[in-house]
Symmetry: C2
Subunit: 250 residues, 2 copies
Amino acid sequence: MSHILVRKLRHGAELSPLDEAALVGAIHDGKRLAARQTVVSEGDRPRDVHVILDGFACRYKILPDGGRQIMAWLVPGDFCDLHVAILGAMDHGIATLTPSRLGTIPPADVDRLSRTSPALSRALWWATLVDEAILREWLVTMGRRPADRQVAHLFCELLVRLQSVGLADGNRIELPITQGDLADAAGLTAVHVNRVVQQLRADGLIDWSDRTLTVHDPRALAEFADFRPNYLHLKGELWSGTADAALAGK
Amino acid sequence: MSHILVRKLRHGAELSPLDEAALVGAIHDGKRLAARQTVVSEGDRPRDVHVILDGFACRYKILPDGGRQIMAWLVPGDFCDLHVAILGAMDHGIATLTPSRLGTIPPADVDRLSRTSPALSRALWWATLVDEAILREWLVTMGRRPADRQVAHLFCELLVRLQSVGLADGNRIELPITQGDLADAAGLTAVHVNRVVQQLRADGLIDWSDRTLTVHDPRALAEFADFRPNYLHLKGELWSGTADAALAGK
DNA sequence: GAACCCGCTTCACATAGATCAAGGTCGGCG
DNA sequence: CGCCGACCTTGATCTATGTGAAGCGGGTTC
């Protein structure tokens, strides 16, 4: 099976075998980290670009009162800091949520690859723009959707994202994060997330136990959450027939 | 005075006079739009790239219940849809908030410029990455900050962004948007935004009348809002001495 | 200059979600 | 093998913000 990063980026551009080989060749097998370890801190200027090869991590900021807001899940295939070189210092931190394996790529190689291959250049742009699109959708969710829809929406997104890189077993994914983590991402309280999750379970929409999330009926959950995967800009007809099609026909 | 787009992008890269001329030369003077007009709709694949030359616009999504979430302010110098070509269809809409003037750039020219000039390429990346950083900060604000801080934070950000492109008169900016618009951006209600704005006025932090926002003491407002401009990744020492410096010394 | 409309303001009341607090369960570690 | 620390669960109560409704002022239209 192909490299996780290749599986992801194929959604963003048509990569030639040469592109794929060059990309994989640039990845240095990096460190393993335990759960809840800092990968990069706010203010850092990391030397290398990090890629998640295995495990879950997140982007976050800490507030003066000690609160934490998670602004993105980083799952296998995701870049942590593709373009720090351009921005200078990190404006947020990155930490693992579960034991993880990270790869690194020297920034010079990133530059070279994207100058050499139009397809890779496009793929890297695509990955960045999708990250941005996800942020926009999270903003909508936090701003305008009630807590239960919000949590359901996060579940839908995670399912699709993991499916898109071949890390799902049907409608079941490994989701070894904590309800507290989920709360920090949703802008809710752990207590309230707990109540919401239990309701989703009681409604037969999901099962979440043994670090495994099972979505019994993805279309029903998507309907409930008002989840439309268009913002993930994936190739292929993931979940064809969801509200996505409804929008297209509008 | 130089072109608004140049003034903005100079924060992202060292542009040579040639770069600047090439960039400005690529901009076609576009249409004028009244307030509250759609520029691009969700699902569109706009032919040209749009730049705001004058006025205020926003990115937004509409929810099934009719609610609107604004996900970004677009002010003069901002790109509306720099990379639709890569993503395919727009996953959100763009609309003017005030009467505006838009420029357009053919996507082929964008490609050419960024292939030809490393500095321009970097500047375009920078603009995109800053948009993303702003989204992250908004997420933090919506998730973890109370309504009054949230509104104050938006004011701080707007002030700095407009200052950075020379559109502020000291600590005063033209802010011809509606309290309802502000509410749609903050994920609040117009009623509640009204209460909060009045409180900020009563506390002597701001004045907002005649479509003009005056920040009496930027450092005090920033302190109140927990605003640190680092995420805007601007050149120069805007507001040096704010909490930003505190973080650096941490 | 009357009629309107839009945005601002205020008030009374409702509620989603926060907060505080107390168990309970389970896996890891001494 | 028993303790301890994370995490989950539940309950009671509080509060920030939403909802619904009404009035007001200024600018625009006819």
